[in-house]
Point group: C3
Chain length 315, copies 3
């Protein structure tokens, strides 16, 4: 879609007719992609963007690199939201090839498999599973009943996805208008799940707003776990029941999160970190191999000591 | 159903043959409805009821208005439970019209749409969705795969309901017998969802015991959120992942509840209140536009200050 | 399967050709079953086992009773994991009888019922429900839409299972290899649910690793509750929304767990215990009829007093 056409649709001005292929973040955008800057905190990323064009306020526009077109507007995030809809794929693909299912794969009744989807060999796809358009699933993977896999998601080999789990639902994103409306940020990315991953029942793993939410090889996820858009759950991580991970947070390899623990958004959690049950992570953890507990979070030994001190208040 | 017939079925005495059309709460009951008083806390509501009849203990019966018939019994709530079954609609409607689906609406395979249901135009109803009897859905609404919408619920225009979400499941209600049994309070109400509402994946929104659980226009709900029976989530509210709202609680407009936060039942939360992640609301919040955190709940700044004081205990 | 064949497949040595019928825990294993000891904490159980054979380290092997064959290995739990796969039933049964459905039972469209399954009379099985192989359901039970019941589970009479709930998904179990892989412990048990049980929407109840996860008569479970493998939820227990119960924990009769409360694994909670909302149980509770709150857990009155003391820190 041409940049000037995009601008016109949402009521902005831009003369360039460069072809825009997608929306993306400041640092990931390529020279055919459109990006935005709303939060001044990311001004350094703006200076380093390779994007074709950027939605930006007049104030911040002086930091736009010379190779990037500045589209000046008062509310860049709101315009991003409006434009995101233009790049949203169809909910159901109208055209495309029939799905391809590998040898030895069993597909039970009442399963839907979308267009252009490819399922490997020796898989089991159980009754009531929904596999959207353009999904790929590797070999020897089991999809239990009533699992929903949204379009464009990718799942590796030797995975087990338990019943009722939803993969690729929209991330929770919207911009506010001045009169109190929320404008959806269409979540045009996907979810990529590696190999040898087991995901419990009734989990939710949201698709990325741009690019991919990633679950790497060997991850183990218990039931009723929520993983928000653009998270990266690195290899060997273990997430126990009812954990919630907010958007754009990265768990480095072999992080263990206990039951009902949680992490805020845009954090990094160092390798081999252990978060005890109910722990709430609100800042990045940079030192690997430590154990943490509580909310606010303390090193586990400190937390235990603190609980002793607190209970002394009763004396 | 005639009042004396109802009474006879459950082993109570009443001579009036007035026609009872429904059960309802003390203040909402009309002069064709039956209500109850168990908890003396609501005695003022009894004095002001317009109900046709009330299940009430002998002790409280002197406060029954002259226009209301008192049906005296020892355990009014238990009798309400027994009577609620008499007013429960069929789980599956036996008779009724074929569903009506508007122009431009796509209905995928493996979808069930019940009798007397009406779906507007330009909707997408994805595979595995269940839409019960007597459901109405507006225009341009998307129902993702494996969503279950129980009978009698209403959904507006421009809504998005993500996969696996359940709308209209029974509220959690029962009366105890003296020998340790629980008698179900049939949840004969419904859920009404306004327009421009987005609900995440694997949420649960319970139907009302009487009347309606209400989600107003513009509400945004993340994944794995629970909303109990008879709640009202007013326009513009935002509920982040894994929030739980107990029964009969009202969120006034533009309340924001962070991830894993919760509210107890029968509360009011003032407009533009913000509850931080993990916050637990146990009392009504009457002053608007304030931020709160913690469990027990404090004003957010106080909570932060308190956490500082608590961590000083380690020194 | 013969013990020497099992040993050979996983690379261990054993000469006995005794027939092994199943895996089981130390105390439950019969003289045709294979068990294991990894954690020295259970050494007394080893002394009392009636198992046919036990996977055990050299160090612990001296405590193996004379009637039990010791299979010596360095990592008994890891070998258990490898062997568990040999005893896993087929995901989908290849042979077997057509399901039997009792008189008066309504089965809606898009329902799958597996081989050898038996559904009693006067049940309602709603659209999109999945009922696996070898499942039995009693009389007058309602299975709401998109419920998934895995193979081998048993459900009694007069139960109500709300939409999206998953019964019999695999418990969360795996052994670690030295090079950072997780080897699945196949969960070869099942779930047994008594009569007059109501389970809310989008709950997850995992099947046992050996034997059964048990939900006894009269239990009431709200929405989005998680019950892990090998739990026993005794008669009359009430679990409010978003509760999580970890593996092998027993709730004795009439325990009430408030919303978002939780219990760690391998605990016993005494009869008529009440856990307030958000309470976190990490040790067994032996005294019945007490109320508890908080995390760490205190008696409810003490917790309230402690919160007063804590808030005094702000003065």
């Amino acid at each position: 879609m041409k940049l000037n056409e995009i601008a016109e649709i949402v009521g902005l001005e831009c003369k360039s007719d460069i072809e825009i292929t997608a929306l993306n973040s400041l640092l990931d955008a390529t020279n055919s992609e459109l990006t935005f800057l709303e939060n001044k905190k990311y001004i350094d990323d703006l200076k380093n963007t390779n994007a074709a064009a950027v939605l930006v306020t007049l104030e911040n526009s002086k930091e736009v690199p010379s190779s990037t077109i500045a589209i000046i507007c008062e509310e860049p995030y709101l315009y991003l939201a409006k434009i995101s809809k233009l790049f949203a794929p169809n909910i159901i693909e109208l055209d495309g090839e029939k799905p391809v299912v590998g040898g030895g794969t069993k597909v039970m009744p009442n399963v839907y498999i979308g267009k252009n989807s490819k399922i490997g060999s020796d898989c089991t796809i159980m009754a009531g599973a929904f596999i959207g358009d353009n999904v790929t699933i590797g070999n020897n993977t089991v999809i239990y009943p009533n699992v929903s896999i949204y379009r464009d998601c990718k799942i590796g080999n030797d995975c087990i996805i338990h019943a009722g789990t939803v993969i690729g639902s929209d991330g929770f994103g919207f911009a506010n208008t001045k009169d109190g409306k929320y404008i959806k940020i269409y979540q045009n990315g996907n979810v990529i799940i590696g190999s040898d991953v087991e995901i419990g029942a009734n989990c939710t793993i949201d698709r990325a707003v741009f690019k991919s939410t990633i679950i790497e090889d060997g991850v183990r996820i218990d039931n009723l776990v929520h993983i928000a858009h653009n998270c990266k759950i690195s290899k060997g991580c273990i997430l126990v029941t009812q954990v919630g991970i907010s958007g754009s947070t990265t768990l480095h390899p072999y992080v263990v999160m206990g039951g009902q623990s949680a992490a805020a958004g845009h954090l990094e959690i160092a390798p081999f970190t252990t978060i005890a049950a109910r722990g709430g992570v609100t800042k990045s953890i940079t030192e690997p191999k430590k154990s943490w507990a509580g909310f606010p979070l303390f090193e586990h030994r400190q937390w235990l000591k603190l609980q002793g001190k607190i209970s002394n208040l009763l004396k």
